[in-house]
């Protein structure tokens, strides 16, 4: 108990030491109270009324300046590296989904945590991750993709032991879009790109050539000619043979298409007026989409009056949320959504989050800490949980120092000790 007392005291002390009270707090407060001191009983009501008005003004002021104050909040004092058990956990076990971060003390080592937060394996890459390279893991962590300089698609893949996956040299063309996402089978990648024959939806296994179909999302080339492309795949379900494609460009109308992956047929197409949405997210199986109001990213006006979760098949409404709420992602069975309740895309604003049930909107868990999301959440393969990586507000590096938090569908959260490095 004494150890815990010391730890708790130290933790609060850190928080308090960062923001000590102003030196003349007592004098100021007493002076303010004295200023409100009634010399005559009849003035008491006046003082009360003034205090009420003052209180309302304070509340209105706080609400109206909330964003501005957040923008000036200091960096999280807890974001500096802390002592953590760093070790070589041996080869990662096969068949167990893992969430990977970089070992902060060994270049090129990746530590895999299982979905209870336990370290289960260490992947030793052939060489350290270059600061400018982007590395992505497959949903279960069995494959890693490397994108040189963070631009373009993955050009190299490693297996779950860190061995290079040889590339299929017979493939004639390789997708170059940076917007590759993992399909719901956790093995294929999906991408929309523009080889010579026009807009093309491709799926591929790491190291293998793509399987492609043309998609008539811009048949006359009008959108492409603007020079502002903005097409991306936000949902890709090989199980349901459905992909969700979007075109999201700030200041112009937004599009969302439901497309059959096997033949590229457009099953539905929806447009939205300019400036209404910040983005569209999709469930892994492509059955749900979330239309995130522009307000969720901090845009004051104009913006869609609500953030809406819809069934992609018929666009019927599943759940309506406040416009300041943005859906970050859905879990694997689409029963839960992790939402941001603060405009997290703005640097300097802590990411406040909530876990909600999609069908009821019931809030199961909240996070109101001082840190920001380092990347979009990862959904547990064949499970219900989310993994999020949080970083300090001041850390804008390509590979920030992060901690891992597993958000369980029953409203619990498991926080992994330490300050690791984002892939």
């Amino acid at each position: 108990m004494d150890d815990l007392r010391s730890e708790i005291r130290a933790s609060f002390e850190k928080e308090q030491a960062a923001h000590p009270p102003i030196t003349a707090l007592r004098q100021n407060v007493v002076a303010t109270v004295n200023a409100h001191s009634p010399r005559d009983t009849n003035y008491q009501w006046l003082a009360v009324a003034a205090a009420v008005v003052l209180g309302i003004l304070v509340v209105v002021g706080l609400m109206s300046t909330r964003l501005a104050r957040h923008a000036t909040m200091p960096a999280n004092p807890h974001s500096s590296p802390v002592v953590s058990p760093i070790a070589d956990y041996g080869p990662s076990p096969a068949g167990i989904p893992l969430v990977y971060v970089q070992d902060p003390t060994h270049d090129g080592w990746l530590i895999g945590f299982d979905w209870t937060g336990k370290p289960r394996g260490t992947v030793k890459m052939p060489q350290p991750i270059a600061p400018s390279n982007r590395v992505g893991q497959s949903p279960d962590g069995s494959v890693f993709g490397i994108s040189p300089n963070g631009k373009g698609g993955y050009t190299e893949f490693l297996d779950g032991l860190g061995n290079r996956i040889p590339a299929d040299t017979s493939a004639s063309e390789w997708p170059v879009s940076a917007g590759e996402i993992w399909a719901d089978d956790g093995k294929h990648l999906c991408v929309i790109w523009y080889p010579q024959q026009g807009w093309t939806l491709s799926t591929r296994l790491p190291g293998k050539g793509p399987k492609s179909v043309p998609v008539a999302i811009d048949p006359d080339g009008a959108m492409s000619r603007t020079g502002i492309i903005g097409f991306s795949v936000v949902g890709c379900s090989l199980r349901n043979d459905r992909a969700i494609l979007t075109r999201g460009v700030y200041g112009v109308e937004e599009h969302v298409w439901l497309v059959r992956i096997s033949d590229g047929k457009i099953l539905s197409h929806q447009t939205y007026a300019a400036n209404q949405l910040s983005n569209i997210t999709s469930s892994l199986d492509g059955s749900l989409i979330a239309e995130n109001s522009a307000k969720s990213s901090g845009q004051i006006a104009p913006a869609a009056p609500s953030t809406i979760i819809r069934r992609a098949s018929d666009m019927s409404v599943v759940l309506t949320l406040d416009a300041s709420t943005g859906v970050l992602g859905f879990n694997s069975d689409s029963s839960m959504a992790l939402v941001a309740t603060s405009p997290w895309v703005f640097s300097g604003v802590p990411t406040h989050m909530a876990l909600i049930e999609v069908t009821t909107g019931k809030v199961l868990w909240r996070y109101e800490g001082d840190e920001v999301l380092a990347s979009l959440p990862l959904a547990q393969p064949n499970g219900k949980d989310f993994a999020v990586m949080l970083k300090g507000m001041a850390d804008s590096t390509q590979h920030p120092s992060v901690s891992v938090m597993i958000v369980h569908s029953d409203g619990r959260a498991t926080v992994v000790r330490g300050s690791y490095v984002h892939l």
């Binding site: 730890e7 707090l25 007592r26 109270v33 909107g361 019931k362 868990w365 909240r366 029953d410 330490g418």
Partner: protein, 160 residues
């Protein structure tokens, strides 16, 4: 000396020594120094208006800290409402793993009243009677609250 002047002196003598603890409590709840300073100012005004409710001989510290805590809870509710409106705001307790818990993060994600109980007991070193008074529960309830909150950080914990 007028009655008002006497009141001012009484207020300074009674509440003045606890303003620092009031600010620290507000900071622990709101986690924003500007809001914490506003909160302690507002709470001091409320305390001054309610000074007659403080019974003769009753300790002023838990009474004032309870006002601060209530004010902060009220502010937090306004903030949450301004941030997101969802059909239900029920909060499930969060539990944490024994070995992998970063105490800072674990504390940050505890339910607010649990966190406040730990703050009052472990940081401000308030006796359980005063912790209970601030939280509006009995001393035994405060002990349970502190124990339960600490157990979320260390599930195998035995209370002294």
């Amino acid at each position: 000396m007028s009655r008002a002047e006497t009141g001012e002196l009484n207020f300074d003598a009674l509440i003045g020594p606890h303003l620092d603890a009031g600010y620290r409590t507000a900071l622990a709840i709101l986690r924003n120094p500007d809001e914490a300073h506003d909160a302690v100012q507002e709470s001091a005004l409320k305390a001054w208006r309610k000074l007659h409710q403080l019974r003769e001989g009753s300790p002023a510290r838990p009474w004032f800290l309870a006002i601060v805590a209530n004010h902060c809870r009220s502010e937090r509710r306004k903030h949450w409402w301004s941030v997101v409106r969802v059909p239900e705001v029920e909060r499930a307790d969060q539990e944490f793993q024994t070995d992998n818990v970063d105490i800072d993060r674990a504390l940050a994600t505890l339910p607010r009243d649990d966190r406040l109980a730990l703050f009052l007991y472990f940081y401000l070193d308030l006796p359980l009677e005063e912790v209970g008074a601030v939280l509006g529960i009995s001393p035994s309830g405060a002990k349970t609250r502190v124990y339960r909150a600490a157990k979320k950080l260390r599930p195998g914990l035995e209370m002294d």
